[in-house]
C-alpha cells in the first residue's frame, strides 16, 4: 500500500518508520492502561533511535565515497558510544565507563580485526560497518548485562564480601564467585541465539542477504559465522569487563565501595 503512495525510497522509509513507531507507541499506551508508565522513556528512545540511525545512514553515504580505512573511525566512535551506554548499568561503580570502553574495544575490536584479516568480513564499507556494528552492539549488551548482574550480586552479598575482607581476603578473591556468575548470565542471550539459530529465528542479516539475491545456503552459513563472531566478542568483552570491574568495586584501602546506602 505504501509503495503506491510514496515514490522516493527515502520518503517510503520514513513512512515505514512512522508506522513501526506508531505500533510501538500503541503497545506503550496499552501498558499505561495497566499502570506501567514507559511513555517518556519510549518516546525519547524512538526519537533518538531514528535520529541516530539516519545520522549513521548519512555518514555511510559519505563514507562510501571515501577510502575503505575510513570505516575504522566510525567503528571507533561506535565503540566509545557503546562503552558509555553500557557503563550506565554499573551505577556507582567508579571507572565503569573506562572498563566498558576498553572491554568492548578489546572484545569487539579484536574479533572484527581477526575476521577482517582472515577475509571473513569484507573490507568494503558496506560490509564492515554493518557487521562490525552488530558485533559492537552485542558486545555492548553483554557488557551491560555483566556489569548490571555484578552490581546486583555485590549489593546483595555485601555481608559475605565484607566478612571475607575482614578475614584478610584480597578484594578480587571476595567477589570472584559473583564475577563468574555475571559472566555466565551475560552470555545466556548470545548462547541461546546460537542454539535457536534457524529453529526459532532467521536473523536480519540472513534475511537481507536473501532479499539481495544471495544463495540461501551461503546466507545461512554466513549468518552462523556472524552469530559465532558475536558470541566470541561478547564472551571476551564480558570476561574482560568483569575482570577489570572487580577491582573498581573497592577503594585503594580495600574497602567495599558498592554498598546499599553506602
Amino acid at each position: 500500500m505504501l509503495k503506491s503512495l510514496f515514490h522516493s525510497q527515502i520518503s517510503l522509509g520514513f513512512a515505514q518508520a512512522a508506522i513501526a513507531a506508531a505500533l510501538a507507541l500503541l503497545v506503550i499506551l496499552l501498558a499505561r492502561r495497566r499502570n506501567i508508565h514507559l511513555e517518556s522513556d519510549t518516546a525519547v528512545a524512538l526519537l533518538r533511535g531514528i535520529v541516530q540511525i539516519v545520522a549513521v545512514g548519512s555518514i555511510l553515504m559519505l563514507l562510501l565515497k571515501g577510502p575503505r580505512w575510513s570505516s575504522v573511525f566510525l567503528l571507533t566512535a561506535m565503540i566509545i558510544a557503546a562503552g558509555s551506554i553500557s557503563a550506565r548499568r554499573a551505577k556507582n561503580i567508579p571507572g565503569a565507563q573506562k572498563v566498558s570502553t576498553y572491554s568492548i574495544a578489546a572484545g569487539a575490536g579484536l574479533v572484527t580485526a581477526i575476521m577482517t584479516w582472515a577475509g571473513v568480513i569484507d573490507t568494503a564499507i558496506t560490509t564492515l560497518i554493518p557487521v562490525g556494528s552488530m558485533i559492537i552492539a552485542n558486545a555492548m549488551n553483554t557488557n551491560g548485562l555483566a556489569l548490571n548482574r555484578f552490581r546486583s550480586e555485590v549489593l546483595s552479598h555485601a555481608g559475605e564480601i565484607e566478612t571475607a575482607l575482614a578475614l584478610g581476603a584480597a578484594p578480587p578473591e571476595t567477589v570472584a564467585r559473583y564475577a563468574e556468575s555475571s559472566i555466565h548470565a551475560s552470555l545466556i542471550p548470545a548462547i541461546d541465539n546460537l542454539r535457536s539459530l534457524g529453529i526459532v529465528w532467521i536473523p536480519g542479516l540472513m534475511t537481507g542477504m536473501l532479499l539481495s539475491g544471495s544463495s540461501p545456503l551461503y546466507a545461512a552459513i554466513y549468518q552462523f559465522v556472524v552469530i559465532a563472531m558475536i558470541l566470541a566478542s561478547s564472551g571476551l568483552t564480558s570476561l574482560l569487563s568483569t575482570m577489570m570491574i572487580r577491582n573498581h568495586a573497592f577503594s585503594p584501602a580495600e574497602q567495599l565501595m558498592l554498598r546499599n546506602g553506602g
Binding site: 559475605e160 566478612t163 575482614a166 578475614l167 584478610g168 581476603a169 584501602a253 580495600e254 574497602q255
Partner: protein, 233 residues
C-alpha cells in the same frame, strides 16, 4: 593456636584519636578518642543508631575515617597493609555469613589467604575451643544459629588475631544460645589474653561480660568507665 602478643600487660593495644566518620552531612562517628588495653574486654554500648557498629567498622578499616586516627600497638593503622591489619584485628559480625562448604573450609579461609593451610589437628583444636568438637566435616547449612556463630568465632580465631571485634554477636540468637556464646567469648578472651571490643545494645550483656564500657550517643563518646559506673540506670 594462641595469638602472639608483643606488648606488656596493661599496654594499650588499640587507640583511637579524634576518630570521626561523616557520610554526606551526617556525622556517623564523632571525635572518639579511647584506649583499649591488652586482654581487656571493652563494651561499646548505646541505642540503635548511636554509631556503635560504624565505630567498630572503622577499627579494622572496613570504612575509612574522615578524620582522626587509629593506632595498633602504637602504629598508625594506615601504615599497615589492609590485609595484615584485618588479620591482626579480626571481626565477628552479627550474622555469621559462613561461606558455602563445610566447617573446616570456613576455618581454613583466613590462613589460606596468606598461603597457610590449617592442619586437621589445628581445626579440631579450634572447634574444641568453641564447643563444637567433631564438627569439621559438617556442612554449614546444617548448623543452628548458635553453632554458626561459634564457627564464625572459630574462623576469626584461626587468624590468630591480636584484637577481636565483636559486633552484636548474640543479637540473632535465642536466650540459651546467647548465654552460651557469651560464656564462650569470655573464656576465649580470658584464656588467650585477647583484646576485645564488643558492640552490644544489651546493657545486661555488657554488665555480664565487659571489664570497661564506652557509652555512645549520636556518634559521640559520652562516658567510659566500669559497667557499674556507666550502666547504673
Amino acid at each position: 593456636m594462641s595469638a602472639t602478643h608483643h606488648s606488656a600487660p596493661d599496654a594499650v593495644v588499640l587507640r583511637t584519636e579524634h576518630l570521626s566518620r561523616r557520610v554526606g552531612d551526617a556525622a556517623i562517628v564523632s571525635n572518639i578518642s579511647l584506649d583499649v588495653r591488652r586482654a581487656e574486654l571493652l563494651g561499646v554500648v548505646g541505642a540503635s543508631g548511636s554509631g556503635k557498629s560504624s565505630f567498630l567498622r572503622l577499627l579494622n578499616r572496613l570504612d575509612e575515617p574522615t578524620s582522626g586516627a587509629v593506632f595498633l600497638e602504637g602504629q598508625d593503622y594506615r601504615q599497615l597493609p589492609p590485609r595484615e591489619l584485618r588479620r591482626r584485628v579480626c571481626m565477628v559480625t552479627q550474622r555469621p555469613f559462613l561461606f558455602p562448604g563445610n566447617v573446616a573450609s570456613n576455618l581454613r579461609f583466613g590462613p589460606l589467604q596468606r598461603g597457610e593451610t590449617l592442619s586437621d589437628s589445628a581445626v579440631s583444636e579450634l572447634l574444641e575451643r568453641v564447643g563444637l568438637p567433631g564438627f569439621a566435616a559438617r556442612d554449614v547449612t546444617n548448623l543452628s544459629g548458635g553453632e554458626q556463630q561459634r564457627v564464625s568465632l572459630a574462623r576469626a580465631l584461626a587468624n590468630r588475631p591480636e584484637v577481636l571485634l565483636l559486633d552484636e554477636p548474640t543479637s540473632a540468637l535465642d536466650e540459651q544460645a546467647k548465654l552460651g556464646i557469651e560464656q564462650l567469648i569470655c573464656n576465649v578472651v580470658r584464656q588467650h589474653s585477647l583484646t576485645c571490643v564488643l558492640v552490644t545494645h544489651d546493657r545486661d550483656q555488657a554488665r555480664r561480660m565487659c571489664d570497661r564500657v564506652a557509652l555512645l550517643e549520636a556518634g559521640r563518646l559520652i562516658q567510659t568507665g566500669t559497667p557499674a559506673e556507666v550502666l547504673h540506670a
